[in-house]
């Protein structure tokens, strides 16, 4: 049976259209955890993370070669097919080769009234935070010009409180994976829907999900840790569950990376607070050195009770691909078995992966 959160992902386009009709506000699409959605909220607009569908990318294939990351390609395919016809704007951040290229593709093939390229530094340093702070002020100005209204600090602070509250509920649900057997797929659905629904609506769903978690059936598979690049559907986690595993903790953009850190509500300069959180506190391999990323991952792994690590990297995702040999070596040195997948965005690959996951679980259980 599908949870309300899982269904909400499927209904996300209807939800966005309904919000737009109800409020008369603008909807702004975005990629990646590095775009502060608080600023879009504060502009009274709805931020919507772009997600693909696991179907043939018949429209996008004309524009892209084969060996590229399938995630942005699948998103662009959905845009070309009209699924995102409610978008008024798009924010494309400088977060990887493929995503940053999407700026040009949107510019030339799917024009919108507002298209913004957000510069995101690729290193963590005081100068980078300073640059990102200035960049976020520029982004705020662009949103003000697009919306025709100034965005006050108080509105940004209010949006920060709202997003922090949602992240807190996500962390609570996430922790229940270890302590109460809440399925990893539910946590991922909760995360994905946080990226696409109006926050107030998501908070309601989260409260309901937390209440239900007291009585719902619990996962009892082999505890596993999942490290992944973008997984924009919870079907891979569900596959692990069906194969006898239970994802108790993760390090991935559509997971812990999205909700782990809060924005400092006490900082009198909310833009600087956003810059710090979004640049310094997201464990992203594009910005941090592999050693720091590994240390972060080991912290997440520690205490989770995971007995194996599944690494899922999308095809041609250079940021994650280079880390893999190092992570594998370090994890195995700590006695952890590692299973690697090079992922596509197709439904058929899941069946091929099932046997590997089952064998991996069997091997660990001995």
């Amino acid at each position: 049976m599908k949870s309300d959160l899982h269904e909400a992902r499927e209904r996300r386009h209807q939800e966005a259209r309904a919000w737009k009709k109800r409020t008369g506000g603008k909807v702004v699409g975005l990629f990646c955890c590095s775009v502060p959605e608080e600023l879009i909220h504060a502009a009274a607009m709805l931020p919507v993370r772009l997600l693909g569908e696991h179907e043939d990318t018949t429209e996008a294939d004309v524009h892209f070669p084969v060996n590229v990351c399938p995630y942005p390609k699948a998103c662009f395919d959905q845009a070309l097919k009209g699924s995102y016809d409610y978008l008024d704007g798009m924010v494309v951040p400088n977060v990887c080769d493929m995503v940053r290229a999407m700026f040009g593709f949107w510019q030339t093939s799917s024009p919108l009234p507002f298209l913004y390229f957000l510069e995101v530094p690729q290193k963590i340093s005081p100068e980078s935070t300073e640059f990102f702070t200035v960049e976020l002020r520029r982004f705020r100005g662009a949103l003000e010009a697009f919306g025709g209204e100034p965005i006050g600090d108080d509105a940004i602070q209010e949006a920060i409180r709202l997003c922090n509250a949602d992240r807190e509920l996500l962390r609570k649900l996430s922790a229940l994976r270890v302590t109460a057997g809440v399925p990893g797929s539910l946590v991922q659905d909760a995360t994905l829907t946080a990226m696409v629904l109006p926050k107030e609506r998501h908070l309601e769903l989260m409260k309901a999900a937390l209440a239900e978690s007291q009585t719902s059936p619990t996962a009892n598979g082999l505890p596993l840790f999942l490290s992944a690049s973008m997984l924009d559907e919870s079907d891979f986690v569900r596959l692990i569950e069906e194969s006898g595993g239970h994802v108790v903790a993760d390090d991935m953009p559509a997971g812990t990376r999205y909700f782990q850190a809060d924005v400092d509500e006490a900082d009198p300069d909310p833009i600087r607070a956003l810059a710090r959180r979004y640049l310094e506190e997201i464990a992203c391999p594009r910005k941090m050195l592999p050693e720091a990323h590994l240390a972060h991952m080991l912290l997440l792994l520690e205490g989770s009770g995971a007995r194996g690590v599944v690494i899922h990297n999308l095809r041609a995702c250079d940021c994650h691909l280079y880390e893999y040999p190092y992570f594998k070596k370090e994890l195995e040195a700590r006695g952890m078995s590692v299973l690697f997948f090079r992922g596509e965005e197709t439904a058929t690959e899941l069946e091929q992966q099932r046997a590997d996951i089952e064998a991996f679980i069997e091997m660990i259980e001995g």
């Binding site: 070669p65 060996n67 080769d97 510019q107 030339t108 640059f131 280079y322 040999p325 090079r342």
Partner: protein, 422 residues
């Protein structure tokens, strides 16, 4: 040593490059032995700064192309894959990872291997692969790494003060890093001298690219892919300036005397993306049928004359590099520029080199194909890696090139029939 399949050069000046390159690599090894500090660099690291601080630079993308051109890429790439790197990873990176981690059964590396490094420097601008590659090497070799970060500026942004300020902070950070790890000191006067030399060489290259519009073509891609080398790796040296002065003079002479690459130039082609470094003789393949690869789109994007912007040489560099990035633009601008150049250089057809492990160029190629189709310029897509020779099939590639040239020649004849009075 494996057999080389280098391009036949038509210009006497270009024939000087292999010796310049051999001397350069020998010098870097000698420098290292003499105790000079050596930096392994990615492209887009300003060698002028390193030269001004007496630090020897070795550019690893170039070293990887040397390995490929000497037909060693298969062995090194395989070794890189044995070390755990996916075939999706950049061919250049796999070659170097194979060289570093590959074990004892590897062939002898060109020039005895790159000079032993003391530090590593990578630029974030070009692609994600370079970052992953250099961070991996820094850990493997246990050496300090500096990341020179840059904004991407797809919509221009040449004059945005924030981009300039950040770029300047990154350059000053690089200088501080070099001072710390190499115990050398920075002299702005020496940097200014290097920048002036580099600007001079750049301006001549801009002229040379303009001269290539001439029909018949005074220089084809077989020469051009070699002729870019001093400008990329000897920047800011008198040797580099002398090279381009000589090349310009030779090209002028060829133009004045109507000397082309082939006796009768029937087709003018563009090569889009990186060439297949292990088989550069492909650039001469068109010549038998009167075809010349008159221009490439890999290196000219950022070539333009930029006068000095500031007295302070570091700020000057920050301003100029911000402007160059702005001019290079994003996908949309790059597409427009390629179509424009195809027209300006009277191009009959474009060969799109789909290098699957070089995301930077690869992502763009279908969009370029679509734009060129719309502009009525025929294209041929060849999917082979720029460095990993195992992806190349001689028979298939040549059959497709033959068919493409036949198509273009027929089109040309058709054009002539159309304009000839009946």
């Amino acid at each position: 040593m494996a057999t080389s399949t280098s391009a036949k050069k038509h210009l006497a000046t270009t024939l000087l490059v292999p010796e310049l390159r051999r001397k350069h690599y020998a010098q870097t090894v000698a420098d290292s032995k003499a105790g000079k500090k050596v930096a392994w660099c990615s492209n887009n690291i300003p060698s002028e700064i390193l030269e001004a601080m007496d630090i020897t630079s070795v550019y690893l993308e170039n070293y990887a192309t040397v390995c490929a051109s000497k037909r060693l890429s298969s062995a090194f790439c395989r070794a890189g894959e044995r070390a755990g790197f996916s075939q999706d990873v950049c061919g250049y990176a796999r070659i170097l990872m194979g060289y570093l981690l590959g074990g004892d059964d590897l062939p002898e590396a060109p020039y005895g291997g790159p000079a032993k490094p003391d530090i590593l420097i990578v630029n974030s601008y070009s692609c994600d692969s370079r970052m992953g590659w250099f961070t991996t090497m820094a850990r493997t070799l246990d050496l300090p790494l500096y990341v020179l970060d840059s904004p991407y500026q797809p919509g221009g942004g040449c004059t945005d003060p924030d981009n300039i300020v950040y770029t300047e902070s990154q350059l000053r950070g690089l200088i501080a890093f070099l001072e710390e790890y190499t115990e050398t000191s920075f002299d702005p006067t020496r940097l200014r001298q290097r920048l002036e030399l580099a600007a001079k060489a750049n301006d001549i290259q801009v002229e040379i690219y303009q001269m290539r519009k001439h029909v018949p073509s005074p220089m084809g891609a077989g020469d051009a892919y070699t002729a870019v080398w001093p400008g990329m790796y000897l920047t800011g040296s008198e040797e580099c300036d002398r090279f381009y002065e000589q090349l310009r003079a030779e090209m002028r002479e060829r133009i004045e005397n109507g000397i082309g690459i082939v006796p009768e130039e029937k087709l003018r082609l563009m090569w889009s993306g990186l060439p297949f470094w292990y088989n550069m003789s492909l650039m001469n393949y068109f010549e038998e049928k009167g075809g010349v690869v008159a221009i490439e789109n890999a290196f000219f994007r950022q070539l333009r004359s930029l006068p000095q912007q500031d007295e302070d040489p570091v700020r000057d560099m920050a301003l100029r590099s911000t402007m160059r990035r702005g001019y290079a633009g994003g996908i949309g601008e790059r597409i427009d520029l390629t179509v424009e150049v195809a027209r300006e250089y009277s191009i009959d057809g474009v060969i799109l080199s789909y290098n699957p492990s070089c995301r930077l160029f690869y992502i763009l190629q279908p969009a370029l194909k679509n734009a060129l189709d719309r502009a009525g310029i025929p294209t041929l897509a060849l999917e082979c890696d720029m460095a990993d020779e195992r992806t190349y099939s001689e028979g298939q590639v040549k059959t497709r090139l033959d068919a493409f040239m036949e198509r273009l020649l027929a089109r040309r004849q058709g054009d002539r029939r159309e304009i000839r009075p009946s």
